[in-house]
Structures are given as C-alpha cells and as structure tokens.
Amino acid sequence: MEVKVVRNVLDVNAKMAEENRRFFAENGVFVLNVMSSPGSGKTTILEKTLTRIMPEIQSAVIVGDICTTNDADRLSISGAPVVQINTDEFGGDCHLAAHVIENAARQIDLAGLDLLIVENVGNLVCPAEFDIGEDARVVVLSVAEGEDKSVKYPLMFRECQACLLNKTDLLPYLDYDLEKARQYIDQVHPGMPVFETSAKTGEGLDSWIAWIRDRVADKAGLQQQA
C-alpha cells in the first residue's frame, strides 16, 4: 500500500535558513553569499573590497573551505572579523549549510554590523542548492575558466543576482570571447548585472562596490523603518 509523504528533502535546511534570515534582519545586517568554482578569485576580490568599504561599512566574513585557515588569514588583514569554517569536520562538505552559518554567525557581534559576507566553498554546483538565509547571492567566474560555464551550471547562475567576471587582466593572454561569455550569462539569467573585474589591478571594482553599497543602504533603511 502507498503512504503519501510529499516532503522536500532540504526542508530542514530551508527552515534553518529562514531562522537565520530573521536573525539577520533583526540586526539590520545585509548578508551576501559569494560563490564560484575553486580559485576564481573570491578571497582576492573580498580582500580588495573590504579595504575599500571598511570602516564606513562595518563588515565581517564567514569563509568556508574544506581545510586550512589560509583564506581567513588573508581576509583578517582588512581588520574585519573573520570566522573560518572547515567543512572537513562536517564530512568534507562541498557547500555551507544553514546550520553551519548559524553557528558561525553566533561568534560574531552582529549588532554593530552592516554587512556579513559569506565566502562559500569553491564549487559551482552544490552551494547553489543550499539557502543559508542570505539577502543576495553573487557568482564569481574567472575568464580563465571558459565562456560557457553559465550554461553548464545553470542553477548557480539562475540563483545569483550578480556575476563578477574576474581576472580580466589575463585577457591579452587568452583566446577568451568576452562577448560570448556575456551572451551565455544573459541567456541563463536575462538582465543579471555582470561586473568585469581584475582583483589583481583593481580595475572594475568601482561598480561592484557601488552595487554592494546600494544594497547595504537599502537593508539599513528597512531596519530603521521597522
């Protein structure tokens, strides 16, 4: 005989993510989930971004890696509080789940904070599936990875609200078709803003930082109204 169940497999995570979202909203913190394949430049972009927005925008970072505290050490130089999560304690998870973020966020004083950045584990597949209670998601793609990543990993690009095309300083050395890459991204997620950046030279970071500023200000405004 058939017994009806109808339950989403990730409903436990979704529930925890909603709790996180409420907790972040109470504190008026804008939470940004930064995702990419390994080595696209997430940490380098965040290092540069933090030195330019701190202390005006009070920021903290939760960074997930399978192991090492290398990224946390690099990000701490900015003066922002950094919590490193090593997922090997959680079975080498390929993504950060909502309960892991909840634990990490408790180690940070959210009251005085405007922006909480989560650098997810380097992976273009799994993190897209897991809501962590963030306000916005962005994906970093480096030009060394090929033009067609967005159509190969559509879920990630559908789930994000902005894309950074990073390492543009390498373009002279590659046969990379920037227009084609933009076309592919636009077909998967029409209208999504794409920022061309070089975390190495700093080129293109202005419009990306302006994008963050707008969103942090919106969230702070919302909290004041509440």
């Binding site: 005989m1 058939e2 017994v3 009806k4 169940v5 109808v6 339950r7 989403n8 497999v9 990730l10 436990v12 079975g91 998870d93 390929c94 993504h95 992976n123 597949v125 799994c126 897209a128 599936e129 967005s150 159509v151 559509p154 879920l155 559908r158 077909q187 998967v188 997620h189 029409p190 209208g191």
Partner: protein, 126 residues
C-alpha cells in the same frame, strides 16, 4: 557532490513516514521526484542510496526517481514552455521575467509498504 547528504536525508524522511502500526513491514518502494535543474546527479544519488540503506529497514526498497522537466511561464505574455539548452528567455516575446513552474523538485513523494500477510491480518482483526 552532496548526494550522500541528500541520500541520508531521504532515508530519514522515508523511515519517519512509516506509520507506527506498519513498523516491521517491508518498504517496497520509495518514490522520489527530482527536478532537472536541481544540483543532484541521479546516478550518484542511486549509488549513495544503495550504500546508505545497507542494514537499514530500507535495505530492500527500490528507489524510484521521477525526473521533472524544467518548465517556465512568462510573466509578460503568459506563455508556458519546457526550457531546453539553458535558455531562460520566453520564445514568444523574448522576456526574461519568468515564473519557474517546475525543475527544482527534490521531494520524497510517497512510500510503498508491503501488504500484510494473511495471518497478520487475522491477528489484527482479533
């Protein structure tokens, strides 16, 4: 890559769904629905389910996976279609303002439990 975690979650949900009066009966089938846009590779999931159900009450269960196509509806003109080749633009009017109708499912829909053998039925009716 997270198929093992998903498999364990499926096993938890399916096991919890066995009504108390049916505990001990064999679960013949677990019916799943997985959207084509979800980040789950069905072959790896099957593999993980096989390993993770060993020595559990679901060891003999068959996992039946219905793959759900990615369907979108245009918010501008109402056209509904099955998305292919990761083109998320309305083929009628070109708009990218879409409502996703299906494709993200990751659901345990139902479980099939073996019918009680006759002697058991008699026991119950007594």
């Amino acid at each position: 890559m997270h198929e093992m975690g998903i498999a364990l979650q499926i096993i938890d949900i399916a096991t919890a769904a066995i009504p108390p009066e049916m505990r001990g009966r064999r679960v013949e089938k677990v019916n799943l629905r997985i959207g084509k846009l979800s980040a789950v590779v069905v072959d790896s999931l099957n593999f993980c389910l096989e390993i993770a159900t060993r020595d559990t009450s679901l060891a003999e269960a068959e996992f039946s996976i219905e793959e759900v196509p990615v369907v979108a509806q245009c918010r501008e003109c109402g056209y509904e279609w099955q998305v292919a080749q990761a083109v998320f633009k309305c083929p009628e009017c070109g708009s990218g303002n879409l409502e996703m109708i299906s494709g993200r499912e990751l659901d345990v829909v139902s479980i099939d439990i073996e019918e009680p053998v006759d002697s058991e039925m008699q026991n119950q009716s007594r």
